[in-house]
Structure formats: C-alpha cells, structure tokens
Symmetry: C2
Subunit: 417 residues, 2 copies
Amino acid sequence: MESFAIKGDLIWTEKPDSFMTMHDGYITVSDGRITSVSSERPSADIVDRSGCLVIPGLSDLHIHAPQYVFMGMHMDEELLEWLEKHTFPAEAAFSDTGFAREAYGSFAEALLKTPTTRLSAFGTIHEDSTLILMDILGKAGFHGYVGKVNMDRNSPDSLVEDTDESIASTRSFIERSSAYSSIRPIITPRFIPSCSDRLLKELGRIASGLSIPIQSHLDENRSEIEWVASLCPWARDYASAYDSFSLLTDRTIMAHCVWMTDDEIDLLKARGTYIAHSPTSNLNLSSGIAPVRHFLDKGLSVGLATDVAGGSSLSLLTVMQDAVKASKMRWRLQDDSAKPLGLSEVFYLASKGGGSFFGSVGSFEPGFDADIVILDEAEGFRTSCHSIEERLEMAVYRSSELPVKEKYIRGIRCTCS
Amino acid sequence: MESFAIKGDLIWTEKPDSFMTMHDGYITVSDGRITSVSSERPSADIVDRSGCLVIPGLSDLHIHAPQYVFMGMHMDEELLEWLEKHTFPAEAAFSDTGFAREAYGSFAEALLKTPTTRLSAFGTIHEDSTLILMDILGKAGFHGYVGKVNMDRNSPDSLVEDTDESIASTRSFIERSSAYSSIRPIITPRFIPSCSDRLLKELGRIASGLSIPIQSHLDENRSEIEWVASLCPWARDYASAYDSFSLLTDRTIMAHCVWMTDDEIDLLKARGTYIAHSPTSNLNLSSGIAPVRHFLDKGLSVGLATDVAGGSSLSLLTVMQDAVKASKMRWRLQDDSAKPLGLSEVFYLASKGGGSFFGSVGSFEPGFDADIVILDEAEGFRTSCHSIEERLEMAVYRSSELPVKEKYIRGIRCTCS
C-alpha cells in the first residue's frame, strides 16, 4: 500500500476535555496507519479535500444488524414488550440466508453513508446468516466484530436453541469465520434472561480458551433487572452474575449500563470492561439515562453506540447529540452533581474512547490506524465566520443535513454509492 | 382558484389518540379549502402522488427567525448565558436590512424544505428588518404571524429600546404590515426580564385595541423564573404577571411552560392561552421537560414548536421525536403518573393542535384549509409490508432521511427549490 496524505480542516480529540483542530492540515498515511499530522505539505501524493471537515472514523460499540429492517418503528413500548412483539419475530426471519443477504446488504450500504468505521455487531442465532453479515461488512471495508447470538431459554420457539447445539454452533461459527480478516468473531450471549447458566459458563470458557472478545447487555431496564434477579438468586447483582461465568473481561463490551449499583460500577472498573452508552435507544425505550459522568470520573472505559433498532439512527453524530441531551436531563432531573457532557466529551467517546476497543483507532495521532471520514457539509455550515469547532458542532446537531463525502478505513477508501 | 384533488397515502389525526389513514385516498381542494376526503376518485383534476405519504401541513408555534443564522451551535450553555453570549449579538446584526434580507431569505428557503406550513415567528426589535421577514415569508407562500420584538430593559445597548420608541415602533410596524395578507403581525414582548411594566401594559392595550394576537416566553428556565420573581415582587407568579398586563388571552402563545405551578396552569386554562411545547430547545438548553400530559388532561391548548435556535432543527418531525423522548424521560425520572406521549398525540399537537391557532388548519377534514405536505420517503420506508402508520413513524424517527417532496398551503403549491 502506498503513502498518501489527506488535506482538509481537521478536528479530533486526544483527550475528552478539548478538541484539537488544524485548518488546511495534512494527515499522512502509510500502510494503513497515520505517520504524521501537520500543517506542512508532506512529500506524499495529496488527496485534496481543502475546506472539508475531516474527522476520525467513529466506533459503534453496539448495534443489532438484523434490526435495521425495522429501524424507526415500534417506539411506543418498553424493552421486554418490544423484544417479544417486534424484535424476536424480525430476527426469526434471518433463518433464511437469502433474506439475510438482502437485508445485511442494505444495512452495510446504509452504514457506509455514516461516519462509522468500526463496529461490534450482533447478528442473530443463525450461524450461516451471521457469517454472511461478516462477509458483507468485510467486503464493504469495515473492521470490527460480529457475533452469532446465543439464546437457549425464555425466547420464542423460532429463536430458542438447544444448549448443546448453541455451543456447537458457536464453535463452528468461530472456525468458519477464519475466512474473514477485518471482521472477527465475538462471543454474544443475548443477555442473562435468554441464556441458561450452563450456556453462559461454556461461552465464558470458549472466550477465554480462544481469546475471543465478548458482548452482551447489562442493566438496561428495571423490569429486566428484576427478572435477572429472579433467574440468578445466587448472584449479588446482574454484573456479578456475568462475572461468575468469566464473561466480564477487558475484551468485553456491555451495552447500556443505565441502572448500575456502585458495586457493579466497581466490578466493571476492576475487570476493565467496556460500556457501550446507547442514549438514543435508552430514550426511545424509556429505559433511563446512564450515569456517564460518573463512569468517566471513575475511569471506566466508555464508548458510544447506536443500538439499532432500539436506536433509531445509524449515525453516531445523532447519538452524540442524544448523549448530550440525555446528560442534561439527568443533571436537571436526577442528579445535579453530575454535570452534563460537553461536545468534546461525547465526540471523544464516539472516536478515541470506543475506538480503543479496536486498537489505536479514533484519533489523528501518529501510529493510529488511518480511519478518516470526510464530511460533506451542508450549505451555510462552512463560512469564513465559523470555526472548525463550530462546524463540528453543527455536524452533530444538524447531522440530518450532513452526509458523508468519503471515508477511509485503515487507509482504504470505502466506496459510498 | 380551480378545484383539484391530490391522490396519495393519507395520514392525519382528528383526535390525539388515534391516526386516520387512507391508502390511495383523494383530498379534493376548492378555493384553498378541503371539500372532501375520499377513496373514490372525484371529478376534479388529479395531482397523482400515488404511493407517497401525504400529511397535513404542520404548525410551528414558536420560532426565532433571526436565530437561524446560528442554528446548531452554542449548545453547551443554559438560557440566560446563551442569550447574553450568542443570541443577543446575533440579533443585533439585524439592524442592517441588507443582512436581514439575506439571512431571512436563507431561513425561508430552508423552511420550505420542512413540513411546516404555518408559523408564529419572532423577528428582532428592528421594525424594517422584521417587515422584510414578513415580506419574504409571505412571498414564499407561508401563512402565520411575525412579531417585531420589544425589549426596553436588561438587554445589551445594541438591543435595548427606549420605552416610548418601542411602543411607537410597534404601532408603526402594525400599520406598515397591512401591506401583507398571509403573514400578519403579532405583539411580541420578548419576556418579562426584557420589558418594563409600562411597556408590557401598553402592549396589552395595543393587542386588545387592535385585536392582534400576542406571543412571548413563560417558565422556561429556573433562573429566569427567579429573576422574574425579583422583577415583579407584586405578582403571584410569572403567568399572573403577564396576566396583569392583559397579555394572556385566547390569542396568546406562551412558549415553553416547563416549570408551571398549578395556579399558572389553571390561569392559562382560564384564559385559553396556547402553549408552544419546545422539547428540542428545552433539552438543548437544559431547561427541563414540560408536563404536557398534564396540560392535555387539563384541556389546555398545546402545539409544538422548533424554537430555533434553542432548538437545533427546523423540522417539526424532529421535534415530535424529541417530544416523545422527553415525555418518556419525564415519566421515568420525574413523574411516573404522567404516561409518555404516543406518536399520534405528538402528531396531533404538531398538526391540528397547534394548527387551531391559525384557524381550521392541520387536518384532512372538509372545511379545513388545504395545507398538504407530500413527503419524499427514503428507500425502504415504502414497501408492501409497511402500514401507513409505520411509514409515518419512520418519517418521525428517521426525519433526517426524509425530505419534503412538495407542499400546498391553502391549496397553493409552494416552490421548493
């Protein structure tokens, strides 16, 4: 792969509390990595995007690829009713690999138009269809993880697996996924209500034995938490139930974490587990607002997530906006000691914060993977009177008016049709 | 004006609790009014929009036209700081009528691309520039109200008026606005902190004497409310301060109403005053969440508003989404007796609820003004498996993907460039 440099108006965050900006800056890329960021023209070939807003690729830490088929619908319900009535029937359709290929094709095409470059995605219980998702995402240029979902209890007939078959299919899925390099497998128990203790224990063993990361859901909804307490009366709490199966590691992503006890926060901190903050979904499903300020103060690893289709947008720019809005309401209505998240903080979470799960990803620093997104600013965003930071703020708050112009993942240009 | 009929997939609300839909329905329009809504082909000329989602024009009850120039910026502050640092300097620029013509031209052009057909807008204190706004909105095809803002205290030098001059300019503005027919004047004291008692009293007299409607702000932010209490120690509360100047009428719109006492709610109910619920702005400025369920139960008149640029979107579809999300958070975090707003309820508020301020507006019922919006659904929204209601829900939750195809106001087709 050759060296090249992208020229544009750069904005990124190395730390949560402030933006770095460079007008007419050059990002030099060599072998898929950033080698320098400078206002001096390098000797490499120049991809001239002068005047365009250039941001690091964003990382979506939690997204249900099959649910894209009903994104934006069924938003007048809470989690458990919503799963039963809408989500499970939609996911059952992915037993048909022809349907899966079509649906996942649309999903990948839509995702290309967003600033996301990395993702950790749920498929369904269906091994073949989930391998198709890996194939399609990889071919589209994305990097990240895809998991075959495990469910062996409390699920409709069309989505419940025999425990042994679920374990065998997971092992088979991992073996067969060696055909793909940019999209890797991730162990994906749906959540405790859907998985027997024996299944969870075995999945913990597989993850540990094969060094495979893990993703699941934690403390999203109060009824869910009560249900988990009744299913795991032996556990101190929801998080420690996962922990007892060796599922909380520094290669684990837990989505939501809205209603965490102090013990649970301490446990996730001790394990180095990532939190996928999903405010759009948490607002839509009336789940509540996660104490992100508290997570950050405690030094937990946090990233942002669309959680499609509890989330109604594929764009992490929209999620950033909801993360700020939700933190303001939490501050106003629930806990006035936790000051609202600022723009640079939510941008950091969506870029370098969540990106760290995937390696050196989400910043314009030498040595980082060259995940670079060029935004196509609407008329009026880019005038002589606007700073680069103001333009980024408009990109977040008016994300609807802002398509992606092009993006590079590890230095490779994705083809946005 | 001739008769014609628009054919499409119709959705509207006659009452808040349910949608009316008609697949391949015909709306017959004569002299700017709807004469029939039927699934039978009428004898009139047909504007064939088969397969398109067709909704009533939406009414924006509160929007600051001059603030469009910084929409989507400066969202990390609360109301009073935000006014001082960003809003007042931006509005001061409208003393230049050349600047105003350009800025208001961009505003109207952008507004044409949204489903809004009616609006009640704030201009600035500047009489000439505000008349330009009326001219531009009228020529673009909109109906509604525009107010010259009054401010004679606690404002920066560039925006503070002499009391007598403010009164004289208001009278002059009203006289000169007789040149326009579709956009009418509205008395617009900014809010109590910006207006002396004498000014408010005189504005109440003008409104009453000339039968002109009124718009202002009420109970948006807690610091603002404390300030009003110190400015009007003689008043029971913020609402009754307005009332003492005869400013609460059934032709008055009060924006926000986030922190209302029971007395204030009863007073607005007794006066028939409209509430402009502005959830996007209330989230952005950390103001809080208005008790809309309570307003509806009490039978108050409520509509939706973008409140640009506290609000960061010109589209009432986005505001509907935020109204639902905000009501869910209020229910979850503040008052579990007030159940969240459903989709048909927020749609009703944005169409027939707010529309009633402008007459028979916002529904597909015979006798209603023919304000009709045809949406340009994104790929995937319109398939054989989606109901009209589901398509409308996607339009709300994925408003970013949904431009307006065309709109008719009182039967006249607007030209969306």
